[in-house]
Symmetry: C2
Subunit: 181 residues, 2 copies
């Protein structure tokens, strides 16, 4: 069984960097409630905050989302895990993301990493992603990882954090073993 896992806002947290850019460059202290259901950089006057994504080093120093390391490790032992991340828009993201994975997820083999632009190109059994758009073109089961911009999305099974992901796949394995046994 193959699980496809997204990086940004699932494994890596871009929000602190967006908040910092909003404050330092535009003098705006943004509260998370302000961008419920949309992107921080969709707020009036903050479109340019998105430009941090093009900067060298941006993706190298993002905090890891809580419990991601332990749960991805558990999944990696039981499934064919692929990390599939949108990267080709940002030329400096490749090496930054690669080294970030190496630092925080050293157990992930390089053959299980995919840098792409449009995720409709990959296939598998499960996809964990914070963007409904990526799940829309996926043929397997889509799990929507909760993030402020997707709070109004109702179409996918929602996982609110990595412990819920862990439990979902423990159930999935238990169900399969019961069926096979």
């Amino acid at each position: 069984m193959r699980i496809i896992i997204d990086m940004d806002e699932v494994m890596a947290d871009n929000f602190p960097s967006f908040h910092r850019a909003a404050e330092e460059r535009f003098g705006r202290v943004v509260r998370p409630e302000e961008y419920r259901g949309k992107k921080l950089y969709d707020l009036p006057g903050l479109a340019e905050v998105r430009n941090v994504l093009y900067e060298k080093g941006h993706f190298r120093h993002l905090p890891v989302i809580e419990n991601a390391v332990e749960v991805v490790r558990e999944l990696y032992e039981h499934y064919e895990v692929y990390i599939v991340t949108t990267a080709t828009e940002f030329r400096y993201s490749f090496l930054d993301k690669y080294e970030w994975l190496e630092e925080h997820f050293p157990f992930i083999h390089h053959s299980r990493i995919v840098f792409c632009g449009d995720k409709s190109i990959v296939h598998g059994d499960f996809m964990i992603d914070d963007k409904a758009k990526n799940l829309d073109s996926f043929e397997g089961v889509g799990l929507l990882f909760t993030s402020s911009p997707n709070l109004n999305e109702r179409r996918y099974h929602r996982v609110n954090n990595w412990l819920e992901v862990r439990d979902y796949f423990r159930q999935e394995r238990k169900g399969r073993i019961a069926q096979e046994g």
Copy 2:
């Protein structure tokens, strides 16, 4: 219809660089006949030639395979073309390959580029690749692009050069139009 196109030995020619490394670093002038059915760096004493792949700049300055630009452009107009290349083993290949594509194939949108390790993760209707291993795990039609190491492979439809690729897909379109009309 989606066509997945490989880069190395299909769009970009690594052989001149391998020959140069064999000569400059190991004093060996290699003739192409010597590595028919295998890799140049599988020849006795030349295993380390493969290390050029890890060097910064290697993938940035490869010559373009004859007629690749014109034919990929024609395919790009008629199909959903994705460039899918093995890159994650080589950390400096990402930016080099990206800039190489930008220089020689500026019409390819970044969303159509995929850097991966194991091509079983992608799906589509056609795959053009010089490695049978990549075609083995592909669910669509595999086209084997001729290269010295694959000359003994008999399992796939062989395309010997880009003009043959062009003709194959002109026929493919003609066939579909006839069927639809």
